[in-house]
Symmetry: C2
């Protein structure tokens, strides 16, 4: 179980249903293959991290129109009784090939392909684009932060400003896949089993007569889980108050985990705070930082010598602020017995059912990908898309979140540094097989 | 009923719960007032449109921890049995003042204030910021599009690339509040009663032997709801095919509603298509345009003479792409018997429970707002915040979506043109009352 809220078949653009009605009226029931991929036209990312598949599989396996949903469609007055009867019986009966969650992939590579009677395949479009597009975008953004943080733990703090509720849940899950260690999101902790993290806000400090009182009170309630927020009044004075309380905690056999900075100049303040802690013999007390961090700010403060042990990463990652959407599309590539290709200004869709083959060198690093035809064999190329559904049945149990996370970790370790750079990353070579070229 | 999916009290950052546990352990049960507002530090918007309140009221009225949620909190091992018992019984018992949905407001103005025992008020923070922040951001973006479109209808096409599922629903609702006429989102049609709109995609045209066959087949299924997508192969040829089919439809007593352009140069293509339609005597057939529209692109093509009758507005509005988050905060402004003020770098919170008073001139236009103390009286100033909850009870039925929409329409008509400009809008005057100044 992935415990996602089921979207249901009405989570769709109306035109998917009107097209379905059109196909139904003209008895167009032939099999089509649609390919989901990210166009590189506007790409601001040198790589992507696949996410969203497990939710997709749950949705497809449970695809059906409820009575309630059918009743609504009737009230629209747009659809024939025959077509409505047809919809009521409709289940997803097709095949799905997909790149597993946590895998690194690149623009133009199919990340998911659906082969099914055209009406079924068409009706899934909006849901698939939304689900895979958003979660992949966030996992990819998170991976960039992981790279910038160079081993420092990252915690998802984004819930208050994600674009809605399941965005908050999926940000927690997608950032965790890409190596974040915890989330502030309690519901994500419950649903996905992600470690949860959090201590206090400025309002807590302000609710006591003094900062020291607030720290002391907190340490009494959470003697082994205390991280003090030290910038409510003056950060360096806050560090001294934290030291005083930490010393009292020590007498009772407890240890302060850390202090958190949430404003001001991270570099100089973290250095000052580190000195105050070290001078007091508290070199094990960690310094956390939050407020406006993303891969760009993390890289900047780390390169400038900030003494930060872990970052709380919020809004800018939770909405992928520098690139808040990906140009993800779902295009028909095969219909009846022909491969289908669409040409329009600046937008070419490659015809045919595909596979992505990855070449790996002797040191284990990815060297290039080849987009080929699904049934071809490319020697020394590892196929990335797996058959995950057949005739509407899911072919394997859900991997655990830890398994997905490990897949990402392994993948990311095999991607050369130059492709991960935050600025001016190299373009990873993605080629086409001769058979695929010939098909076009 | 607003039919929102209930988030539940675990939709929160962990620190809200740990702070609550800290207050509980130290018997801090005093009443606090928190104020929710958008900081102007990073503001890219000259005005905002309030949205999200009705969902907030449903959530607060139903606030309680379920058995399932309590069980999860127990497994975290962080909370005392006493505190967990307390949470299990907890209901929201406070008062809420808020600016109604659809109202135009400005940065720094409180849009919602909660007065409740500090634990209750604190636990709501994450949910309130997420809900009001996101929906207000989208309604505000949509209002900018409405302004740019200068009377042309706008339709929400964003579902495939919104940041998750309830984002898609709330984008449909928030854009409808701000004057959009319809949405492609079928689920939003069902839940909110918003008119739904949509016809065909390129894949539909591609599934038939010719473009003309595809149009003809569609017109047979939807003789009175046809809008043909004419850019699959060549837009001007597509217009001619649409004309041919429209003529056949006329013979059967039906009328083609319109054609849609989804790529290429909107200005020149729309002029060419208009001429083809007009020359064929089809001057009533409308031209729709989609693909990458937001307030900036709408304003541009309109000013350049595009002959577009209505726009499908998608991704860039659905994620508020140019400003994908607002700097919305929820700050304690009153606690026990004192007004609370927080000062940190560049971030000042105004102490005290507040009211916003709006001055209106003899022609009905808004002239200035004055942020005052909640219980003061400002002559000729209309108070914007209404008391919507008292002791945990909602004080009035939900307004209908049409009522909210009308409130927006009236508000927007009273906001001078200069404050609505897409580029370089004037700054609307927001002042502070003498009593509020004195309090600081």
């Amino acid at each position: 179980m992935t415990h996602h809220h089921r979207a249901g078949p009405l989570f769709t653009d109306l035109y998917e249903l009107t097209m379905a009605a059109g196909y139904f009226a003209h008895r167009v029931f032939d099999t089509a293959t649609f390919s989901l991929y990210i166009r590189d036209v506007y790409s601001t990312r040198s790589f992507f991290v696949a996410a969203g598949l497990e939710q997709v599989l749950d949705e497809l396996a449970g695809f059906r129109f409820s009575d309630d949903e059918m009743n609504y469609l009737k009230t629209t007055g747009r659809f024939s009784a025959d077509f409505l009867d047809f919809l009521e019986q409709l289940r997803f009966s097709g095949d799905v090939y997909a790149i597993p969650e946590g895998t690194v992939f690149f623009a133009n590579e199919p990340v998911l392909e659906v082969t099914a009677p055209i009406i079924e395949a068409q009706l899934l479009e909006t849901f698939l684009l939304n689900t895979v597009g958003f979660q992949t975008m966030i996992a990819s953004k998170a991976a960039r932060c992981i790279h910038a943080a160079a081993g420092r733990p990252l915690i998802d703090f984004s819930l208050r400003r994600t674009q809605g509720q399941d965005a908050g849940l999926n940000v927690a899950r997608s950032t965790f896949i890409a190596g974040f260690t915890a989330t502030s999101n309690v519901l994500a902790g419950k649903i996905y089993g992600i470690p949860i993290s959090g201590t206090m806000a400025h309002s807590y400090v302000g609710a006591f007569d003094s900062e020291r009182d607030a720290f002391w009170a907190y340490s009494e309630t959470f003697p082994d889980h205390s991280i003090f927020l030290i910038d409510t009044y003056d950060t360096l004075e806050g560090a001294k108050n934290a030291v005083a309380v930490a010393k009292e905690m020590e007498k009772k056999g407890h240890t302060l985990i850390g202090v958190r900075l949430d404003s001001g100049d991270t570099v100089s303040l973290s250095q000052g705070v580190r000195k105050i802690l070290d001078d007091a013999g508290l070199s094990d007390v960690k310094i956390f930082a939050s407020s406006g961090f993303d891969e760009f700010k993390i890289e900047k403060v780390v390169s400038e010598g900030a003494r930060i042990d872990a970052f709380g990463v919020g809004t800018k990652v939770g909405v992928s602020a520098d690139a808040p959407f990906v140009d993800v599309v779902y295009k028909m590539v095969h219909f009846k017995d022909r491969d289908v290709r669409k040409l329009s200004l600046g937008k070419v869709t490659l015809a045919g059912e595909k596979q992505v083959f990855r070449k790996i060198n002797s040191r284990g690093y990815f060297t290039e990908d080849i987009i080929g035809v699904r049934d071809e064999l490319i020697l020394d190329g590892e196929p990335l898309l797996e058959k995950v559904m057949e005739n509407g049945n899911v072919l394997r149990p859900h991997p655990t979140l830890d398994e997905i996370r490990k897949r990402f970790e392994l993948n990311f370790s095999r991607l050369d540094e130059k492709y991960k750079l935050i600025h001016d990353a190299a373009v990873y070579p993605v080629k086409r097989s001769r058979r695929l070229e010939k098909l076009q």
